[in-house]
């Protein structure tokens, strides 16, 4: 059994693609259901944690920048760590992740 990191990213910047309040509410409910499903199947290696949408980015030679790291359009909305035997199994788990509703991405990385 290995640990896999799921990083959820989507475009939080472009105004046209942001969900309406109703859609966002539904979207968040889907996340809740999905997370509960993962917990019920015993897949979570760590409890779910949520992160604010602000943040700071620090780099050498630059003063701290506000907001999540967003060198490109997408920034990280959340992350979880799950237990799975290999990449294939981890991918399967990520298949019904709600982030795809908003054209987001899931980055999967294996723990060493």
């Amino acid at each position: 059994m290995k640990e896999f990191l799921f990083l959820f990213r989507r475009d939080y910047k472009t105004p046209e693609v942001q969900p309406t309040p109703e859609l966002l509410k539904q979207h968040l409910e889907h996340w809740q259901i999905w997370f509960e499903g993962l917990a019920a199947k015993g897949l979570l290696a760590r409890p779910i944690q949520r992160w604010d949408g602000q943040g700071k980015v620090l780099e050498r030679g630059k003063s701290p920048v506000n907001g999540p790291y967003a060198e490109i359009k997408e920034s990280i909305g959340g992350m979880i760590i799950i237990n799975a035997p290999d990449y294939e199994a981890a991918e399967k788990i990520a298949l019904d992740c709600p982030i795809f509703e908003l054209n987001g991405t899931v980055e999967i990385r294996m723990g060493l």
Binding site: E3, L5, L7, R9, R46, Q49, R50, W51, D52, Q54, G55, K56, V57, L58, E59, R60, P64, P68, Y69, E71, I72, E74, I76, Y87, A90, E91, A94, L95, C97, F100, E101, N103, G104, T105, V106, E107, I108, R109, M110, G111, L112
Partner: protein
């Protein structure tokens, strides 16, 4: 390496009393830097400074989640079941690892992050507060 769990982990009420927040520190590095400039000596000295920094945070009880290493491959999934090899690159930066740290607020978290050795390798730290 095993670090003694900080008091704030074993007794969650301590964290509450001290009204500490948890902060995520995401460490990013550049693929270019990774591939080019690191000599073995530089890497060894960096690793020892890095480990000292993490150990320092563990000893003061500021480290909430252990440092974990993630492979440099990974997969990226997009809607429509599209899978591409990772890691996810943001302008040549990729996430190497993360830790979680206890701090009172963003100001304190920032001060902690500023002492991180990753800047020697032209890396960056993204700090996000847990809610």
């Amino acid at each position: 390496m095993f670090y003694r769990q900080p008091l704030t982990f074993r007794f969650p009420y301590i964290k509450k009393i001290m009204s500490l927040n948890e902060f995520l520190f995401l460490f990013r590095r550049k693929t270019e830097a990774r591939d080019k400039t690191i000599t073995p000596e530089k890497l060894v000295s960096f690793n020892s400074r890095w480990n000292d920094w993490i150990k320092g945070l563990a000893i003061t009880g500021q480290l909430s989640a252990q440092l974990k290493h993630w492979d440099l491959h990974g997969k990226i999934l997009r809607s429509g079941n599209i899978v591409t090899p990772g890691p996810y690159l943001e302008n040549d930066d990729y996430i190497e690892s993360f830790i979680m740290v206890y701090a009172a607020d963003y100001q304190e978290a920032r001060e902690i992050a500023e002492s991180c050795p990753i800047f020697e390798l032209d890396g960056s730290v993204e700090v996000r507060m847990a809610i």
